[in-house]
Subunit: 239 residues, 2 copies
């Protein structure tokens, strides 16, 4: 199949998926470029592929489009060569260590955290309802496609923590004081990372069993949220 008009209904539909509200209602999202599309194909979540390169073919429906159309659909100034429509990730059972993100706002931070979670074997990420959208193109790009390897859910994290299996130690983070994460190397943990400016909300913090702190020079007030999350996951993994 080939599409050459920007006014084509399919193209108009894809454009809408750039907005969170349409991604949510359609349960679909867009990804760009070979590396990401290959990761998604491996996981079987690709619905269809749009490309300007007529020599490419895939095991999913492939639609050939013009440079003008792909430029319109792409988030990159330079335009992509390949865009895929993916099905929203399905919730899976919770197992292994969990990272809970309380009002995380920066898409680059979320993407980076997803990459570190895969590196350090955290299987589940729980996003609070008011965190940045998982399917934001910047999140997907900075995750380097690693989002397909995790169980990621968006929910009310207060309810989530209240109902979490008692075998998990719920850990909040503090820039002032707390224990060393090394204490929990051999435990099953749910670590909460807070908002970039405001940290973990008091309501969420109150639901946690323990508080940890990353020791650092007093010249520095705090670390970037993706750095704190990654160091804590690294420490648990290397235990």
């Amino acid at each position: 199949m080939e599409i050459t008009s920007l006014d084509n209904a399919k193209i108009k539909y894809l454009e809408k998926l750039k907005q969170k509200k349409y991604r949510d209602s359609e349960k679909l999202f867009l990804i760009e470029d070979e590396h990401l599309v290959n990761e998604a194909l491996k996981l079987g979540v690709v619905k269809e592929i749009y490309t300007t390169n007529k020599e490419l073919s895939f095991d999913v429906p492939t639609i050939y489009i013009t440079d003008k159309i792909i430029h319109k659909l792409s988030e990159q100034d330079s335009g992509a060569k390949l865009i895929a429509v993916c099905k929203e990730l399905e919730k899976r059972d919770i197992k292994g260590n969990i990272l809970v993100l309380d009002r995380l706002q920066d898409p680059g931070n979320l993407g980076t955290i997803i990459r570190s979670a895969v590196a350090f074997n955290f299987d589940t990420i729980v996003l609070s309802n008011d965190s940045v959208d998982l399917y934001n193109p910047k999140v997907i790009r900075s995750s380097e496609g690693m989002l397909f390897h995790l169980n990621i859910m968006r929910t009310d994290i207060v309810e989530f923590l209240k109902n979490l299996d008692k075998k998990y130690i719920k850990i909040t983070t503090s820039v002032q004081d707390g224990e060393d994460i090394g204490e929990y190397k051999d435990s099953l943990v749910a670590i909460v990372i807070g908002n970039e400016g405001r940290g973990v909300s008091p309501e969420v913090s109150a639901l946690c069993d323990k508080k940890v702190h990353i020791r650092m020079s007093n010249k520095c007030e705090s670390l970037n949220a993706s750095i704190s999350a990654s160091i804590l996951m690294y420490e648990v993994y290397h235990g």
Copy 2:
């Protein structure tokens, strides 16, 4: 002093400082917002301050400007309240642990690395000539003003590593294999972090004494550059 016209020569001059070539030739750069300006004032690097708030006064020349002017000068869509002209940081003597950045490109990564370097007592950052500009507004913002606490230089890192005092162990990083950074906890180190996509260049890697690797799941190819840098500095600091 008060300026109300966008055509004022001083304002035209400040606008030029948004470009790297003028920052380099004038040896000046701009910072925005109270938190950053306060950090810079403490360090004595502020030349003058521009603000829309006539109730503010400082120990450096303060120029009152209109909303329209500050909106033109600010990098933020919402506009700043306060902009300061700062003198480029001066090179200091090299002491303590060193982080060398080989062709680092992302401004957010550099800012985040600067913040972690202060947290984990790395005193010097050496940027290769082709790395992102230290005075890029996104670098300054994501460093949270921590750039004022470090000795940061831009130079030919091949020459730098060749001439570095022999008491330093020069360490390169690899995503495939290498030793654990824990081996060098009690040493004085110069750790090289490479470009986001391409890693450390072979010429730079060849000048290093040791190679370290952060152990991770084989599902993940590599970590974000700011995460690798921060974990290695964290490990050396916590040794």
